[in-house]
Amino acid sequence: MMVGPTPYPAASLRATKRGERRRKLFAAAGLLPLILWQFIFFVVPVLLLLVISFWRTKSYRMVPDFTFANYLAVFSNGAMWRALALSVQTAAFVTVVCALLAFPIAYFIAKKAGPLKGLLLVAVIAPFWISIVMRVAAWRLLLGENGVINQALVSTGLVDHPVSFLLYSPVATSIGLIYAYLPLYVLPLYASIDAIEDNWIAAAKDLNAGPFRAFWEVTLPLSLPGLIVGAAFCFIFGLGEFVTPALLGGGKQLMVSQIIQDQFQRRLDWPSGAAIAIVLLLIVFALLALSMKWFRKASGEKL
């Protein structure tokens, strides 16, 4: 038989080509539904917002146009700047407090909890899955003028009258947000700290570093990626949060999200609401890009 070396590679080449085509087909079939879905219900809505942010409103109706008037109005409006400042301030405060609260607990779960590790971690995350409106309702019960905290304060004699600044104030918003985002901060921080080998800390101590120096020069730098991811989530979510300030913040000092909602639902001025939303979105994307850069740097330095 004249079986040369040619038929086999040709067949195999055909087979791999067919395999390649099959693989491409599988890839397309698997990805396409999700991509189409996210395009229609995520990309298109954002683009629509962008488009109408250049339109104008005439007697409560949107008129197609190409004007920067909405953006100019946003930046020349004092109330808008105050709302933006309040949002940034609140988000920053919440992020810092969450980081400070989350670090010891993440450290405890990762390094000191022993066999209870899994359970304790899940127990931190679990409240996050309860509907935000229910969590906010709980804080209204706690913080209200006749709420649990005030009644505890009065009955212990710490204050004579219930204190009124607890609910319906930026303080209440901050407490609600810290409560909401703490689990979100613990999760990435735990992952970072859990990945630190005990040997590395022990090595630092062998080299005569005290516990504080070992923490400062080994544990903290190595948990930086987790700190950054947690901070990014906290700050970004805090900036755009709506339910918590709307129900706990009282409505005297508005956050950006409340102004956007007000423009859309009460003033029916969609174009200017869209312009503010786009500004918020740009800030979010800039922060995201920045934190990703920091994250890469922090995780790169680890190696």
Binding site: P33, L49, I52, L119, L247, V284
Partner: protein, 275 residues
């Protein structure tokens, strides 16, 4: 001598850390406990001191057509969203994790965008989109909106699971002559079942509790978070606390169980690997 001092201070630090952690858990669970507690308060406007306890609010809650109706609506819509997002996420995550594709980072950022997008912004965008199809406002729009959010989370979680999947099993099966469909049915699906169930549950919980986006596109549909929001604007009835406390207990139990189950499954899998 010095070692004893240092162990003593280490023990001290450890106790302090344990104490601190207890306080954090108290902070996390106190608000939830307060809701559950007030569900049993006999006064029509709940508050301290708790002089008389009752379980009657639970009965009255079941009589409240509007509340029960919104609960059923939420359960129905969240089931749909969870199902849809798991179905969308699973094949996509598999492709992203296993096959080389072009523009991967673009695809990833498009798929994961809804996670970081402020929900208010997504809600408004969808409101504008719905103007083109006014018939979808209400239940279909809520399902669409929640699926958009939850399929992002689902893809993210499943992607990491598929990355850790032992693909040598698949190669072995294919060497034995199995085609893709058989491999998927006999190997991928059974091994991924825990991950798929936990993703479904997470998507369900998220869709069940989501408020902002649903509120914008709901029209006259009332989901449970929407009806709680409405009642928060007035004097809130203890019936709402009764229902909320039931849901909180179920949510906590479900998330604890599903997560612990996943942890155990991974531990079993790693044991098999080392054995």
């Amino acid at each position: 001598m010095s070692t004893r001092v240092s162990t003593a201070s280490a023990t001290g630090r450890r106790t302090l850390l344990g104490l601190y952690s207890t306080l954090i858990y108290l902070f996390l669970y106190l608000p939830i406990a307060v809701i559950v507690l007030f569900a049993f308060d006999a006064k029509p406007i709940p508050g301290l001191p708790l002089t008389e306890l009752t379980t009657s609010w639970f009965g009255e809650m079941l009589q409240d057509q509007k509340l029960v109706g919104s609960l059923l609506t939420s359960l129905r819509l969240a089931t749909m969203s969870a199902l849809l997002s798991t179905l969308l996420a699973m094949p996509a995550a598999m492709v992203l994790a296993w096959l080389p594709i072009r523009f991967k980072s673009l695809v990833m950022s498009m798929v994961l965008g809804p996670v970081v997008l402020p929900q208010l912004v997504l809600g408004l965008g969808l409101v504008i989109l719905m103007r083109a199809a006014p018939g979808t406002v209400g239940e279909p729009a809520i399902i669409l909106a929640h699926t958009t959010i939850t399929s992002s989370y689902a893809t993210l979680i499943l992607y990491s699971r598929f990355l850790g999947f032992r693909r040598s099993y698949i190669e072995a099966a294919m060497n034995l002559g199995a085609n893709e469909l058989t491999v998927f049915r006999e190997i991928v699906l059974p091994l991924m079942r825990p991950a798929l169930i936990s993703v479904f549950l997470l998507a369900f919980t998220d869709a069940f509790g989501e408020f902002v986006v649903a509120w914008f596109v709901a029209g006259f549909t009332e989901t449970l978070p929407i009806s709680i929001w409405t009642s928060l604007r007035q004097v809130i009835s203890p019936k709402v606390y009764a229902l909320s406390s039931l849901i909180i207990v179920v949510t906590l139990a479900l998330s604890l169980m599903s997560q612990l189950w996943v942890i155990r499954q991974t531990r079993l899998a790693s044991k098999v690997r080392y054995a």
